[in-house]
């Protein structure tokens, strides 16, 4: 099989993963192709026989989904990186608010909406709902949401000033000069934000192991950190 | 009302270069297929823009390249009956007919729907759609539609070609009335010369995009020219007056410059004027005073001109006082009877040999047509 190594990765890790893959190549590794899409899309494609070698999901659910169907090798499953949830505002905005129990998020929104991933299905949105619920702010804002199709869209809404506040991953916020981090949600307020990695059951590519090892190696953890991800736990 | 046209226009390999000037009445435009008849009337209607020239109807300038006048087609008030019906497929016959009415100021309307329905036998078709009409039915609707717009000039491009003889007979009188009563000039394109000459004031012959001859109907039609308009139709045309009626035998007496004519009964008062055409082929020449013949109309005259080719027939022009008749006879008769200019002869015209349709046309009111199936 002279096929190149193919990684299926959640779109939200793209910036960091691209850099990591480039580093892998320059350190003598084989060329790697990465297909970025939503975790659900990728999981279903793997279910339908996609010839991918490695899956990096943006949440645990879709990794579990594949594991239940014996489509990944459980022994290879690991957490690649973690992430944090932040409250953002447009750079120009004056808003100051600290995340604390009962904090007045609705008041800070004024007549605007809170941009976040759709809490019904977008992972960032699901975490966001948990965190807001944890601080008792959810009821007040649940009808004031701008539910974006993915976390990047939520970021864009804030960056363009369409929404006065938003909830996104730290990895998204750090890269956008149009937004400012107002505060970070403590990790205790929501389920752990982790990006599980596993080798696909059907993968036969000889370089799979070398790549997974490289991605988990300490020598590139700084690279993930620079993109806003937290080191794996 | 006067029609003045002087236009040139290049159309690919074809060049239209036509000049026309005609008074009031009906201009018959003849010419073979491809001569440019449609192109010419398209310039009058504003559908084909001349490269240069001038067009005026009743003194009103519709187009003038010099003074840059070009009245848009919808303001020209031109009633155009096209060569193909061009009905509105989505409208009922009624709404097709009434389409142009609203654009004519009420004061200038000279025809009403009922009249047109009756005339064209369209009553039973009123609620139908054009799609299922027969060819003739469609063309009748198209004529009605143009009439109902009460146009200032009527352009008819072979409108009756697909109509049967009876229907033509019914429509003609109406066209003729238009010409006499409403003073609407009519330009009538036709292939069938007989069809129109009885109505025409002026005849124009067209060939290769040019008007080759144009003049009063009597003059053009009387030319003993074998290449002229339809050899079989050549004849003398003159105006006559109704002097009386013979009801018993259903005859009407007419007076013209050459004498008295007896023709089938006309529904016209004494003193009415009428146009009569006697075709050359319907005239028999005798060198002796005829007797015992069924022919009612016999004139004494003098041979004024003899045109003889090498074919079977020769054309004679026979002077009758101020008028003249044309006669077509065999060359053998010319020889046998020693016919030659200067010789006195008798011209026999069968009364029923008159183009009796020309008189129908003078009925004061058109007949109601029979209902159409």
């Amino acid at each position: 099989d002279d096929r190149e190594l193919l990684v299926f990765a959640a779109a939200s890790v793209q910036g960091a993963l691209d850099a990591a893959v480039a580093a892998y190549a320059s350190s003598g590794g084989e060329p790697v192709h990465v297909s970025y899409a939503g975790s659900s899309t990728l999981a279903r494609q793997i279910e339908q026989g996609a010839e991918a070698d490695i899956f990096i999901s943006a949440n645990i659910d879709w990794m579990d989904y594949l594991q239940d169907r014996e489509l990944i090798r459980p022994s290879t499953r690991t957490i690649l990186v973690g992430n944090a949830l932040v409250l953002i505002a447009p750079v120009a905005s004056e808003t100051r608010i600290a995340i604390a129990p009962g904090f007045d998020l609705a008041g800070a929104l004024g007549d605007g909406r809170l941009a976040m991933g759709d809490p019904d299905h977008v992972p960032a949105g699901i975490y966001g709902r948990e965190a807001l619920g944890y601080y008792g702010a959810w009821q007040a804002v649940r009808n004031r949401l701008a539910r974006a199709g993915n976390v990047r869209a939520a970021l864009a809404l804030v960056s363009r000033g369409e929404a006065p506040l938003g909830i996104v991953y730290r990895s998204d916020a750090v890269a956008d000069a149009g937004v400012r981090v107002v505060d970070t949600f403590p990790a205790t307020s929501h389920s752990p934000i982790v990006y599980p990695l596993a080798v696909i059951a059907s993968s036969t590519h000889p370089a799979t192991e070398s790549l997974t090892a490289f991605l988990q190696s300490a020598q590139i953890s700084w690279l993930f950190a620079r993109h806003g991800f937290s080191p794996r736990r | 009302m006067k029609l003045e046209v002087d236009v040139t226009r290049n159309l690919g390999a074809f060049r239209l270069d036509a000049r026309l000037d005609c008074e009031d009445g009906l201009l018959a435009l003849f010419g073979r297929s491809g001569a440019g008849k449609t192109s010419l009337i398209n310039t009058i209607a504003g559908l084909l823009r001349p490269d240069r020239g001038r067009i005026a109807v009743g003194g009103e300038v519709l187009f003038d390249s010099k003074s840059r006048i070009d009245v848009p087609k919808h303001r020209r008030r031109v009633g155009y009956v096209f060569q193909e019906p061009r009905l509105f497929p989505h409208l009922s016959v009624r709404r097709n007919l009434l389409y142009g009415r609203r654009f004519c100021p009420a004061a200038e309307r000279y025809v009403e729907l009922d009249r047109v329905l009756e005339l064209l036998g369209l009553g039973v078709l009123l609620e139908r759609r054009p799609g299922l009409l027969s060819g003739g039915e469609k063309q009748r609707v198209a004529i009605g539609r143009a009439l109902l717009a009460s146009p200032r000039i009527l352009l008819m491009d072979e409108p009756l070609a697909s109509l049967d003889a009876e229907r033509k007979e019914e429509i003609f009188p109406y066209i003729e009335r238009l010409r006499y009563e409403s003073r609407v000039p009519i330009v009538y394109v036709s292939h069938a010369i007989a069809e129109v000459t009885r109505l025409a004031t002026t005849v124009a012959l067209m060939a290769d995009g040019r008007i080759t001859a144009c003049g009063p109907v009597g003059e053009i039609m009387s030319r003993p020219d074998p290449r002229g308009p339809g050899r079989h139709e050549a004849g003398a045309v003159f105006d006559a007056l109704v002097t009386g009626h013979d009801e018993a035998f259903a005859l009407t007496h007419l007076n013209f410059a050459g004498g008295e004519l007896r023709v089938p009964l006309l529904d016209m008062p004494k003193g009415s004027a009428i146009r009569v055409r006697i075709r050359a082929r319907d005239v028999i020449v005798s060198i002796l005073p005829p007797a015992g013949l069924s022919t009612l109309n016999i004139f004494r005259g003098e041979i004024m001109q003899l045109v003889e080719g090498d074919g079977t027939s020769a054309e004679l022009r026979i002077g009758l006082g101020d008028a003249f008749l044309l006669a077509s006879v065999t060359r053998k008769s010319v020889a046998d009877l020693q016919l030659e200019p200067g010789r006195d002869v008798f011209a026999l015209v069968k009364s029923v040999a008159f183009d009796d349709r020309s008189e129908d046309g003078r009925r004061a009111l058109p007949r109601a047509p029979e209902a159409d199936s």
Binding site: D120 | K73, V78, G79, Y80, P89, H90
Partner: protein, 233 residues
């Protein structure tokens, strides 16, 4: 199929409203534009024609992004609309209708244009000689004869509007009861493991809705067609 849940009913009602308004918004622009493109030559015609196709060419997400930039509350047109008429499009169903209109626009214009091109101009000329000015000819001849294309265009555009996802979610987000149309709801369900059954129900609903619209339009079009072209042979 068991009874519709309130969520489904809401999505259905909303989709219908968005689809109908989308069509209503685009028709008055599409018809004259289609006639213009079918019947006139003018400088810049090719450019205009290309512009019309843009929403078809661009990834819907990009179109949605452009709409957000232009018609969002901070966008030049959106701000003006809000200031002058108090009309807000972003995050409202009205915005979803605009997105539907924009996405269906090329389809509508093309269909109407085809129909207009098929009209024998000689019939319009005949109307002109009867005294009708250009506007009247248009209203009484061109427009009725273009009905087949108008119906086809409307239905294509309606179907496109009802099925629109990418531009809609980007421009007006995914707000239950306000902008969560059927496709957005379907998409939402497809993102969560196990959501297939719910997505399928909604899909069937979308299909039924559009089929009904299509069949109704067919019936109307066929009647008109018969009335117009009674060719016997």
């Amino acid at each position: 199929m068991p009874e519709l849940t309130p969520i489904e009913l809401e999505a259905l009602r909303l989709s219908l409203r968005v689809g109908l308004w989308g069509v209503a918004l685009s028709l008055p622009v599409a018809v004259p534009l289609a006639v213009l493109l079918a019947r006139r030559e003018f400088p810049g015609k090719q450019l205009l024609n290309g512009l019309v196709y843009l929403p078809l060419i661009l990834p819907p997400v990009a179109t949605g992004y452009v709409l957000l930039l232009m018609l969002g509350r901070r966008g030049p047109i959106g701000a003006w609309l809000e200031d002058s008429f108090g009309l807000v499009l972003a995050f409202r169903w009205t915005g979803a209708a605009v997105a539907a209109a924009v996405m269906g626009f090329p389809l509508m214009v093309r269909a109407i244009r085809l129909s207009v091109e098929a009209i024998d101009p000689r019939i319009e000329v005949a109307a002109g000689t009867l005294g009708a000015g250009a506007a009247w000819v248009f209203l009484t001849v061109t427009l009725p004869l273009a009905i087949p294309g108008i119906i086809a265009g409307t239905i294509l555009s309606f179907a496109r509007g009802v099925g629109e996802f990418g531009a809609t979610i980007t421009f007006v987000s995914n707000i239950p009861g306000e902008t969560r149309t059927l496709p957005i709801a379907i998409h939402t369900f497809l993102q969560v493991p196990g959501g297939e059954a719910a997505a399928l129900r909604l899909t069937v609903l979308a299909i039924v809705l559009s089929m009904l619209a299509i069949i109704a339009s067919e019936v109307v079009a066929r009647r008109l067609h018969r009335r117009l072209q009674g060719h016997e042979a």
